[in-house]
Symmetry: C2
Subunit: 156 residues, 2 copies
C-alpha cells in the first residue's frame, strides 16, 4: 500500500544516505500515480554544490518531463523547502508538496500556498531528529551556513 507516510520513508532514507556520505540529512522523492519517479538528497557538503538541495536533486534526477507529468507529481521532502526549491516547484507547476517537518527550519511554504500548491506537513519526529542531531554534531559548520542568509529561513 502506498501512502504519504510510505513515500516519506523513502525520502527519509535519502536523508540517511546523505548522512552516510558525510552530508546534511535532507532527502526528497518525486512521486506520480503512486510510483517513484526520482529521488534526491542534499549535496552541499559532499559535492560542494550550493544548488543541489534534496528537492533540486530529485527534480534534476527526474530528467526532462512533460508538463502533464509535472502537474501530476507530488514532491516529498523531509524539510520545508527553501525559496530556491519552492521557486523550482512553482516553475514546473508541481501541484502538491508533502513536508516531513518545518519546526527546525521553516521554508517558503507561504509562497507555495499563495500560488496554489497544496502543502501538507506531516510533522514527523524522525525528520527533525535527523537534522537536529546533524546540527548538534556540526555546529560550527552549520552556523557558518546560516550566516549566509542572516536569518532563520531554511537555506537547505
Amino acid at each position: 500500500m502506498c501512502n504519504d507516510s510510505s513515500f516519506m520513508k523513502i525520502a527519509i532514507n535519502e536523508a540517511k544516505i546523505s548522512l552516510m556520505e558525510g552530508g546534511i540529512p535532507i532527502g526528497a522523492v518525486l512521486v506520480k500515480n503512486n510510483k517513484i519517479i526520482s529521488k534526491g538528497h542534499n549535496k552541499l557538503i559532499q559535492n560542494g554544490s550550493v544548488i543541489l538541495h534534496a528537492e533540486m536533486d530529485a527534480i534534476e534526477n527526474a530528467g526532462r518531463l512533460s508538463g502533464e507529468d509535472y502537474k501530476e507529481i507530488t514532491l516529498f521532502t523531509t524539510l520545508s523547502p527553501c525559496p530556491m526549491c519552492s521557486g523550482a516547484i512553482l516553475l514546473y507547476n508541481i501541484s502538491r508538496v508533502v513536508i516531513g517537518e518545518n519546526k527546525s527550519l521553516m521554508g517558503a511554504e507561504d509562497l507555495l500556498r499563495e500560488n496554489g500548491v497544496k502543502v501538507d506537513v506531516l510533522n514527523i519526529l524522525e525528520c527533525r531528529d535527523l537534522l537536529l542531531n546533524y546540527i548538534k554534531n556540526n555546529q560550527l559548520q552549520w552556523d557558518s551556513e546560516l550566516e549566509k542568509v542572516g536569518n532563520s529561513t531554511n537555506i537547505f
Copy 2:
C-alpha cells in the same frame, strides 16, 4: 572601465557559448567589486539539465561563498530570471540583478522587488534577438518546453 554594459557583454558571450553548444542562448555572470566571480549559461539542451539555467549555473560555478560575499554580488543575466532562479537569488541574499531583456519572456521580477532586490532592466536588443532567433529556428522544441509551464512565465 567596468560598468553594467560591459558585464552584460560577458553574459551575452555566455549566451553565445550556449548557442555554439547547441543550447538555448541565455547567459549570466556574478560580479563582486567590479570583478567577475563566475559565469554560466543555460544547459537544458546540452546537459539535459532542468535546473542549470544560466543564473543557477553561475551561482553553482561560484562555489560556496560567504554571506558577506553574496550580499555584495550583482547578478547579470541576459533574460529576466524565472521563479527558480529568483528563489535562488532570494535564498542567497544577492542584492542586485541586472537583466538584459524581459520582452521575450518575463520572469519573477516582482517577487525579487517585493523582497528588496534592486532590479535593473537594460533592454538590450542583442539579448532579445539571440533568444528570438533561437526560438524561430527551434520552434517545435520551444513550444514543447513552454507547454511544461502552461503560461508565459519565463521557464529558462
